[in-house]
Each structure stands twice: as C-alpha cells, then as structure tokens.
Amino acid sequence: MHASLLRPLAAGDRMQRKWTDGRPMAEVAAEIIKPNDRLTAFDRLEIYNRMYWFRLVDCFHDDNPGLRAMLGARKFDRLALAYLAKRPSRSFTLRNLCSGLEAFLRAEPAWTAPRTALAIDIARFEWAQTVAFDEEAFAPVTAADLGASPPSRLRLAVQPYVQLLALNHPVDAYVIAVKKRDTLRAEASNATTAARRRAAVRRIRLPRRSKTWIAVHRVENQLYYKRLESSAFRILEALRAGARLSRALARGGAGVTTGQVRDWFALWTELGWLCRRK
C-alpha cells in the first residue's frame, strides 16, 4: 500500500491505472482492500493516493513562492512532482520537505533550465528562511565578553539560526517583491475582476547575475535578510567553521580595516548573531 500511495498521480489527478509490473491497478488494489457498496478497492486506495500528493505538493508550493514565480506555474508544478517523486519525505515533519531541493536542482538541472543557477539561489534562500525561523539560539556573547579574551584564544560561533548565503544573484529583493505582490493579490480578492486580472499578470523582473552575500536571520521572531560585504561574510563563515577569532579575521582579507571589524562585531553582537562555541 505504501508504494502505491507514493506513486505519482496520472492525468486528472487520478491514480495510475497500471501497477509497476503492468497489472491493472484495480486488480492490485482488490488484493488488499475491500470494496463497499459505493466504492471499489481502486476508488478507496485512490483517496489516499490523492491526499498524499495534494498534501505534499501544497507544502512544496507554500515553501517556495519565489521559485514558483521565477519558473511559472506549469514548470514549477512539474518540478514539484519530480522532486517529491525522487525525494519523498524522510522527516517526521513537513518543515523539512525542501531540505534536499538544492541538491536535487544541482543533480537534475533540466527541470529549471536555462535558469538553473538562479533557481538554485532562490531555493537556497527560501530554505534558509525555514531554518532561520525556528532553529536553535544560544545565549549571545556581549561586547564585554569579546573584550575579556585575547582574539587568539576566543572561540566564537555563529548562532545556528543565522543562515549565511553566498549567492550569484540578489534574490532577496526578488523574493520580497514576489511576496509583496502575492500579498496584494490576496488582499485584492474582493476587488473587481479587471483589477484581479491585472494583478495576476504582473511579472517581477528577474534578478541579474551579481555576487551577493546575505545573512537570513531573525530578530524578535521576525525574519530579516541582511546584505553583507564579502569580507564580513568570510569572517562569519570562518567562525562558523570553528576558526579562532584571530584566524577568522585573517580570512577577511588584507583590505579589511580595524574600524570595519569593530563596526561589524558591534552590529553582530547587537543582533545576537554570535555565541560561544560548545
């Protein structure tokens, strides 16, 4: 039964008519499931098959509004079915449904061609929001903590909920614009038909290729996106990888000034991004 539920639906959102070995699905279903006076065994199994796919596809849609806007509805739906067929949920929670999407897009670029690089950036950015929303937070270090140990001894970590992304496109602005548009469309649901139609067709310009470093984080449980300078990003990445402070600062590069470092650390401690390494 499990294998039959996970099989993709056929046209019209119906259960496939043939089983994997070519036998009629009606025959396979009848072997395990009783019919009743209104539904055949096929009909009863189909209820579960459809519910499985509707539930997972809905979740995939909810988690990837930016990717959907970029690909368009039809291409996005094909991607959703391909991803879910190849990578069914391996977690007790649907929160993790899209954790493997980046790897899938890299492995099967045909679903997003010719804009696979952009699709990967958007998928990473949208997954980062899921993580930033409810990942663990430890007690943040303060400016006083930073001053108490010499840089060569200090082992800092970046909070688990702070997601650091080095991207090839400025997708933060794009995804914000998509969400804003979709919110306005939802609010306009009682507006005139013409206004709805205009809102529905408004396309948002795709971002051009440009190196972008972003931290997705939360403040008072609200999600925020912060652009970073590349050297600041490298320092944070080194801290996350376990480097001591002095070594992490060296990763920032020769051009980084003391004043920049002071300002960055002041901001990061104020935002609570840094904690002690366990």
């Binding site: 039964m1 499990h2 539920l5 996970l6 072997e31 395990i32 499931i33 009783k34 009743n36 006076d37 209104r38 539904l39 065994a41 009909d43 009863r44 199994l45 209820i47 579960y48 519910m51 499985y52 539930r55 997972l56 069914p88 949920s89 391996r90 977690s91 007790f92 929670t93 649907l94 929160r95 929303f133 409810d134 990942e135 663990e136 937070a137 688990p160 909920y161 939360r218 449980n221």
Partner: protein
C-alpha cells in the same frame, strides 16, 4: 470517570487546539480556556516563535500534547532521536498524558504524513502494543491512542476496528483518545453502527475525547476538521460521555479556521451534551441513557 490513570488522574474539561491564527488573540486577550492541545511536532524545533509562544501559553494555561507522527502501527521501531526531542517537549509542557494515533504512516524512514488505517490482526495488535509500551517507558508519561477515520478496509483484518482498539490498549495497558467524529466518519464509510463501536470499547481506558467537523462527498465522508460539529456526532458524543463519564474533550478545527470566539463557542457546546452523564456513575448513566 473524569480522572483515570490514562489521563494522569486529571479532570480537564473542554479544550481547544492551539493554532497559529489564534496566537495573537490568546496572548493579548487571555481568554478563559480549560486547556490547550498542541501538536507536538509543531514545537519539536530548536527555538524561534513556536517555542516562545508555547512558553507564554504555558505561563497561563494547561497544555496537553497530541502527536501525528509516532505511527504506532508502522513496523519500524521509534527513532531514538525523535523520542529524545519529544521527551524534552514533554518536560517543557508537563503534559499529564500524551496522545498519538492508532495508525501507520511510514516505511523504512519514508513518511506519508498521513494517518493510514491498519489491518486489524492479532499480530499487528501485538506489535503495536509493544511499540506503545516502548514509547511510554521512554517518555515516562501515560499514553492515549486515538482511533483514526478511514476510507479503506483490509481483507487481512481478523476483527472489527473497536475490537482491535480494545486488543491493543489491553496489551499495551494504555489509554484511549476516543475520536467520536472519526467513529462517525468511519461508520458511514464502512457501514457499521457507530453505537456498536462506542459500546464495544473499554470505557475505563478512555482518557480523552475528540470532536470535530467533517465533509460529506457523494460516496464517502472525509475527515476535514473545517466545519462545526454535526448533529449525529454530538449525539454520539452524548452517548460516549454516558458510557465513559465526563471526559476531557477537545474540539479539532484545523482548516478554514474561523475566529477564536467562534471555535471556542463551538467547543463549549459540548457542555450541552454531557448533562446526562454528570452526577451519575458512568455505567448507571449508560443504562439510563
């Protein structure tokens, strides 16, 4: 028997499911509610808003945990890491009992995120009961298992659903979360008498009840939790409380969720149906009923 070992000897009254659209209302207005039921999986995360809201709720209200992913009927053993996280939440909420479903839903670590019906066999009952005992011993909290609504029955079944439920809970020595709406939905889908079901379960093990709305399609009923409770379900509920005593009851409303006040008013209607059970011993009340 409002209080019994399976609900931690509590007497909790009428509860509501804690749902995101109601967070701000509850936190701002602090309405009087007997207790809230949370979906455990929604709070088995590292931090952020879910846990902050939960902690604020715990300051004001009693909370009971209800799970959707333990899959007592699935063949694999419970995942230890999952149990550890669940136990951490149990300690946080101090839930007097914990419920999950009598169903399966995963195979070899692949999850359907559905509550799938089981074949009602003695072998399945034995295996399921062993898993419930394992989970209870790890979590150190009473367990109630909930009957699910279903749309399919198996040729392999050797007994009725209520006989299977009774067999499992006796073998596991655990409680029952009796979902009255699920009984009604399944009775229509499978053609049995829902009162036979209610009369057939071990009433002394019922630690909690669920009520909810469902949707009628042409050929079957679907358990959608997006409507008020329908009259036949209220009647079943009244009968259930006469048999089991006035039991902690929760209204499930999970889709197309209306205002908090509307959901709360619907839940409190339960009081109109349990009058016959108040003040009488359950068995006596059932005879009168």
């Amino acid at each position: 028997m409002p209080a019994n070992p399976f609900n931690g000897h509590t007497d909790y009254g009428i509860g509501l499911g804690l749902r995101v659209p109601h967070y701000s209302h509850i936190l701002a207005k602090k309405p009087v509610v007997d207790w809230f039921e949370i979906i455990s999986e929604n709070f088995m995360c590292g931090g952020g808003r879910p846990l902050e809201v939960l902690d604020l709720i715990l300051e004001q209200y009693r909370v009971v945990q209800h799970g959707v992913s333990m899959y007592f009927g699935s063949a694999e053993k419970p995942d230890r890491e999952h149990l550890r996280r669940l136990k951490a939440l149990v300690r946080r909420t101090n839930t007097p009992w914990l419920s999950d479903h009598l169903c399966w839903g995963s195979v070899d670590g692949t999850y359907t995120h559905d509550l799938l019906p089981m074949p009602y066999t003695f072998e399945a009952a034995k295996r399921t009961a062993a898993k419930i005992r394992m989970v209870r011993d790890f979590l150190e909290v009473p367990i109630c298992v909930e009957n699910v609504s279903s749309y399919a029955e198996f040729h392999a079944s050797e007994m009725t659903e209520w006989e299977f439920l009774g067999e499992v809970v006796e073998l596991a020595d655990c409680g029952i979360l009796l979902d009255v709406n699920n009984i009604y939905v399944s009775s229509k889908n499978h053609g049995f008498n829902p009162y036979d079901y209610l009369n057939g379960v071990p009433h002394h093990r019922v630690g909690q009840m669920h009520i909810a709305g469902h949707t009628k399609f042409e050929k079957y009923l679907l358990d959608t939790h997006d409507h008020p409770v329908l009259d036949p379900v209220w009647k079943l509920y009244a009968h259930a409380t006469r048999l089991c005593g006035v039991t902690a009851t929760l209204l499930e409303w999970d889709d197309r969720i209306p205002s908090f006040a509307e959901v709360h008013d619907e839940a409190l209607k339960a009081n109109e149906f349990i009058g016959g059970a108040r003040g009488a011993a359950p068995a006596e009340a059932a005879r009168v009923g």
